[in-house]
Symmetry: C7
Subunit: 100 residues, 7 copies
């Protein structure tokens, strides 16, 4: 039996961007990417020319390449992919003593 | 298929304002902006002439320009946009070890 | 279309009052103000002649002027308005890295 | 229109009492006071002759005078009223940056 | 009208006991006491001859004397009663600034 | 009236074991013990020859002797029983100021 | 009566991998392993050649060997198994004073 494929369900990204366009525009643009049902953009660090934003994207079968492309179009770049959830069930983090 | 557009669902703003009008009036005025279904204004810092308030606005297709305009009319200015949620699903922040 | 107006939904107040009347009487009196559906009074600081209480009031279209008047009648004064929620949806605070 | 009156819904008390009667008996006695639907007594500090207990009482139209009287009958005294909730809605505390 | 009496609904006990019988046997024995619907025994401190366990008992009209007797039969003794809940509603603790 | 007996509902164990068999095998074996409906094994400390694991077992009328036997068969030993829940209701821990 | 076997329900793994393939690909590949209904991959530490990721996998009768094999195929290795849940009920961790 072939499993239905839910693909990427959530991404947590550290994104570096110039001050313009604003995070309002980044959030709106990413919310229109294929597979995305919602976006949360959070300002994490502001420097003179650039700022770091944390981007949480949720959906079903999120198209990662389209998402990266959309960020590039805005002059932004993915600095690191800090979390990925995939599959039918949206699995959350579970704390263990090994997390220190 | 064209996706229904839910636009801006939540904004978290750091707003600088004179002591008058009071945050009661700011909250009431913003609650009447197009697309806004609720507003939370929180006093964060009080100086001699001004005060900083944290403003959380939630709704569907929130009109950011009308919102900024409403704040300007009150003599207030958006100091920074600290968070934006967009899309059908109201995505919440997710902690990761990279948040430090 | 005119939006139904829900007005003030919640107030968080820092109130300065003499020891008498007691916070029991303050809570009872405020619970009868127009638009108020519930009141929580919390003792935060006790001085020789006065005490500070945190007052949380919730309801729909809370009448701020009647509320201030009720407090004045009790010999109390609003020291600061620390939070205001307005609109149809009772929006809660959302933490961001900018809260420090 | 006259509002239905729900009176006192919750009290948080700091009570000073001798070691006897035990907090088991205090809790049982207070649970029978008019308007009280439940009582939680928590040992907070033990001294040689006395002990401090935190008393949380919940109900509808709690009779504060009967409650104080019941405590007096047990040789206990209300040291301070640390919280009062009144009205139809049981309003909870809301944190703000002004709480420090 | 006579109120239905729900008596003791929860007890939090600090119990001192020898290493034998084990906390497994203590929990099983207490779960059979009149009025008890469940027991949680937690090891809090181990000394050479004895150990302290925290015992949380929940139910309706818990028979405190039978409970103390059951503990005595096991060679254990109630060191202090740290919390008691009584009445129809299982009232939980509520934090206030006076808790320090 | 004889009370239905639900026996042991939860055990929290500190278990010492050699590195082999793995905690995957420990969890699978314990999940088949009489009365057990689920097992959570958490790595807490790793030494050169041995490791400590925290084992949480939940069910109804858990057979403690069969459980100990199963652990022994795997070359593991119960170092301490840190928590036991018994009875119809799965009672949770309740914090008090005496927990320090 | 033979118990239905739910096998492994959750694994928490500390995985060491080269920078390529990305954690997006790791999450997608693991989500297709037999018995897996969801995967969460979290970046925990980045070094020059390698990175550590925390992998949480949930499902029913998760095939641990297929999972390890899938990781090996990606050039990754399980550094330690930090948590395992097995059985019908997904048992969560329970804090005790012995956790320090």
């Amino acid at each position: 039996m072939v499993k239905a494929d839910y693909g990427i369900r959530r991404l947590v990204l550290d994104v570096l961007k110039p001050h313009k366009p604003s995070i309002v525009n980044v959030a709106l643009k990413l919310s229109r990417v294929d597979g995305v049902s919602g976006v949360n953009c959070i300002l994490s660090e502001v420097d003179q020319e650039t700022e770091n934003i944390k981007v949480i994207v949720e959906g079903v079968n999120i198209d990662f390449d389209e998402l990266s492309g959309a960020l590039e179009d805005l002059g932004a770049v993915i600095h690191s992919v800090d979390g990925v959830v995939a599959g039918r069930k949206l699995v959350e983090d579970v704390e263990t003593p090994q997390d220190k």
